[in-house]
């Protein structure tokens, strides 16, 4: 990172560092503007509120919002879609065919069922992601690699150009890495969005075959990592190539969050969303920093205005000011609530298993799956991918997991290439049925 970047750290300093009290006031103002819009135009919101006997004029404060406004979730959207024949699950609040509106329909990846439609309307220009790309060190005149694992519309390259940078489009495929190296030699890109687990595995294999990865990728100031968690061992491996990684995640289908250079949680932009973290089995907030379910409310998406959306995502969250100076909350993703298994009363998520599997050299790529017949199980069952099968490998993996979790698992070993073939290009299914 050079001094020019350090001296000009924020894309929107007056928003990113807005004092907490002013941020709260801004949120409340935006919320009271959004709620009538959502109620009047989004059929699922109206249905949920009418069922609960709530109207927007009764919600004049955060306290009333938290006490009275009903939750929605993905199942509610799917039921609404199936029952009413509404492909948008009751969450489309504008006519996408309105003349002059750049209307598009994106969709979720379909990891947990039929892809959910995500209507979009906008005009070309930088999105909120500019705050995150700027923090990476990307500046006007730079080039920036867009290597998104599934194409989700123009927002990424709109943002890059809106920052004065030029996107380089590369398929998210390990086979494309040699081409990426060539592009790096020619165009010296400063940012990369994004790296994923399978690409890290491929880079490691190239490094072992003699490719100088550090030299090939030496132009980057920052690399966004996304798709699934990154274990500490994998992170150290990537950093040994001279790359500074910035973890990135979606936030309750209302936005995204990315690490800053403090690498102490992922920044959520609270001028664009209200984040609540609640008891996963109830509706009460957990203490700041405790694990809970993320519940999101958009403050800017008038096309599909999610309000109190139970995301199924388990997170830790804090509103403490970050050392970088930003005042917005920070999130630590833990996994999906529906991925949790409870073994003899102990909660286990993939993120808990990760460091243990990484610790065994033959399974260091952390390609594993939790076999989940249901939430409550008598014994933890894992399918773990290996690079080289040794007679004592199963026992060593079981020992490592037991040392980390205090639970002895049943481990099934498979060639890691078998697991890699199961996934989309950026990840594998981490929780599967027997």
């Amino acid at each position: 990172m050079n001094s020019m970047v350090d001296a000009d750290r924020y894309w929107e300093p007056d928003v990113e560092c807005l004092p907490r009290a002013e941020l709260d006031t801004l949120q409340e103002k935006k919320l009271t503007e959004l709620l009538p819009w959502a109620y009047e135009r989004a059929p699922l919101i109206r249905h949920a509120w009418d069922t609960a006997g709530v109207t927007p004029d009764a919600i004049g404060s955060f306290a009333a919002f938290r006490e009275q406004v009903p939750f929605i979730d993905k199942d509610a959207m799917r039921h609404f879609r199936d029952d009413r024949g509404d492909p948008y699950g009751g969450m489309l609040a504008i006519d996408l065919a309105t003349p002059g509106v750049f209307g598009a329909i994106f969709s979720t990846s379909g990891t947990t069922g039929d892809p959910t439609l995500a209507p979009f309307a906008g005009r070309e220009g930088p999105t909120i992601l500019a705050r995150e790309f700027w923090e990476l060190g990307v500046r006007p005149g730079d080039t920036f690699v867009e290597m998104l694992f599934t194409y989700r519309g123009p927002a990424i390259h709109w943002t890059m150009r809106g920052m004065g940078a030029t996107p380089i489009f590369v398929d998210h495929d390990p086979a494309e890495l040699p081409r990426l190296f060539e592009l790096c030699r020619r165009f010296q890109p400063r940012g990369w969005y994004n790296l994923s687990g399978p690409l890290v595995i491929a880079l490691q294999q190239m490094a072992e075959s003699g490719v100088d990865i550090e030299r090939a990728l030496d132009s980057f100031r920052g690399v966004v990592y996304a798709g699934e968690p990154l274990g500490p061992r994998a992170r150290r491996r990537v950093e040994s190539w001279g790359l500074e990684l910035f973890n990135h995640t979606g936030v309750g289908d209302v936005g995204a969050a990315t690490e800053c250079r403090e690498h102490d949680g992922l920044h959520v932009w609270e001028d664009t969303a209200i984040i609540e973290v609640l008891d996963p089995e109830g509706d009460q907030p957990v203490a700041d920093g405790e694990r809970g379910e993320l519940v999101s409310t958009t403050l800017m998406n008038l096309v599909s205005p999610l309000v109190r959306y139970r995301s199924d995502d388990l997170v830790r969250y804090t509103r403490e000011r970050c050392a970088c100076g930003r005042t917005h909350g920070r999130v630590w993703p833990m996994g999906r609530k529906s991925d949790e298994v409870v073994v003899d009363g102990q909660s286990v998520l993939p993120v808990d298993v990760w460091p243990a599997v990484e610790d065994v050299p033959e399974t260091a790529a952390a390609l594993f799956q939790i076999i989940r017949p249901g939430r409550d199980v008598d014994r933890l069952r894992l399918r773990v991918g290996y690079t080289r099968l040794e007679p004592d490998l199963r026992g060593r993996v079981e020992d490592a997991v037991e040392a980390h979790l205090g639970l002895r698992p049943d481990v099934e070993l498979v060639d890691q290439d078998v697991l890699l073939r199961m996934g989309p290009p950026h990840k594998i299914p981490r929780v599967v049925k027997p």
Binding site: W11, E12, D14, V15, P87, L96, A97, T98, P99, G100, V101, F102, G103, A104, I105, F106, S107, S109, G110, D114, P115, L117, P126, A130, P140, G141, T143, E146, M147, L148, T150, Y151, R152, G153, P154, H157, R161, G162, M163, G164, A165, T166, P167, I168, F169, V170, D171, H172, E176, R179, E182, L183, R186, F187, G423, P424, P425
Partner: protein, 214 residues
């Protein structure tokens, strides 16, 4: 809270043509969007219609003009990846959205989805011979260097924008040359498309040359 403004980059983006990096300018994309408006009209996209575009990220310099053209027509668009792993999403979106046209179907996708997936789609534009043979009445979408060509309803060769691009055949391969200014010029650029150039008028009424893949 005034948003920061910075000068727009002179290069719109860097895509790929064949195996070559291919920088394009904002003017190139605007020009290709003009061509794409006509392509989408020929595919039957109208005000309020919907087109599903199936592509790879590296094809963005070909796809962005189609997206913007949909907007110009006051139509909507959706997208999926042209990969085996994302084929299920193509099938799902066809079922959920009932698009007026699907663009970009290839061998991997037809091999991964049920054979009836595209039966109710009015127009399907394909990118390879296997998909062409698998989907009745499908039309070609050819990437001719950095530009595109689409077949009309006659299905007798793909039309390109002849005001902006010249096409020729060299040793059985289609090559293209830019007639309009482009950031990265193309002079008889090999396209990887094997076929011939048909110089006779099309039954649709257009008189410009067409590309007929072999």
């Amino acid at each position: 809270m005034t948003p920061r403004t910075v000068p727009a980059p002179e290069t719109w983006g860097i895509g790929v043509v064949g195996s070559e990096a291919w920088p394009v300018s904002p003017a190139d994309i605007a020009d290709e969007t003009e061509s794409a408006v006509e392509h989408l009209r020929v595919l039957g996209i109208r005000d309020g219609g919907l087109v599903l575009i199936v592509s790879r990220l590296a094809e963005t310099i070909h796809v962005a003009p189609l997206e913007m053209a949909a907007g110009r027509l006051d139509a909507r668009w959706s997208s999926c990846d042209a990969t085996e792993g994302d084929a299920f999403r193509t099938a799902s979106l066809v079922r959920q959205l009932s698009p007026d046209a699907v663009i970009g179907i290839n061998e991997m996708i037809v091999n991964a989805v049920p054979s009836h997936t595209f039966d109710e789609v009015p127009v399907v534009a394909v990118t390879d011979r296997v998909a062409r043979d698998a989907i009745s009445s499908s039309r070609w979408w050819l990437r001719l260097g950095p530009t595109s060509a689409f077949e009309c309803e006659v299905r007798a060769g793909a039309h390109h924008d002849a005001d902006r691009w010249a096409v020729d055949q060299l040793a059985g391969e289609i090559v293209v040359t830019n007639r309009a200014n482009r950031l990265t010029p193309a002079r008889q650029l090999p396209t990887g498309v094997r076929g011939s150039v048909v110089d006779e008028p099309c039954a649709c009424g257009r008189t410009t040359p067409r590309v007929l893949p072999s």
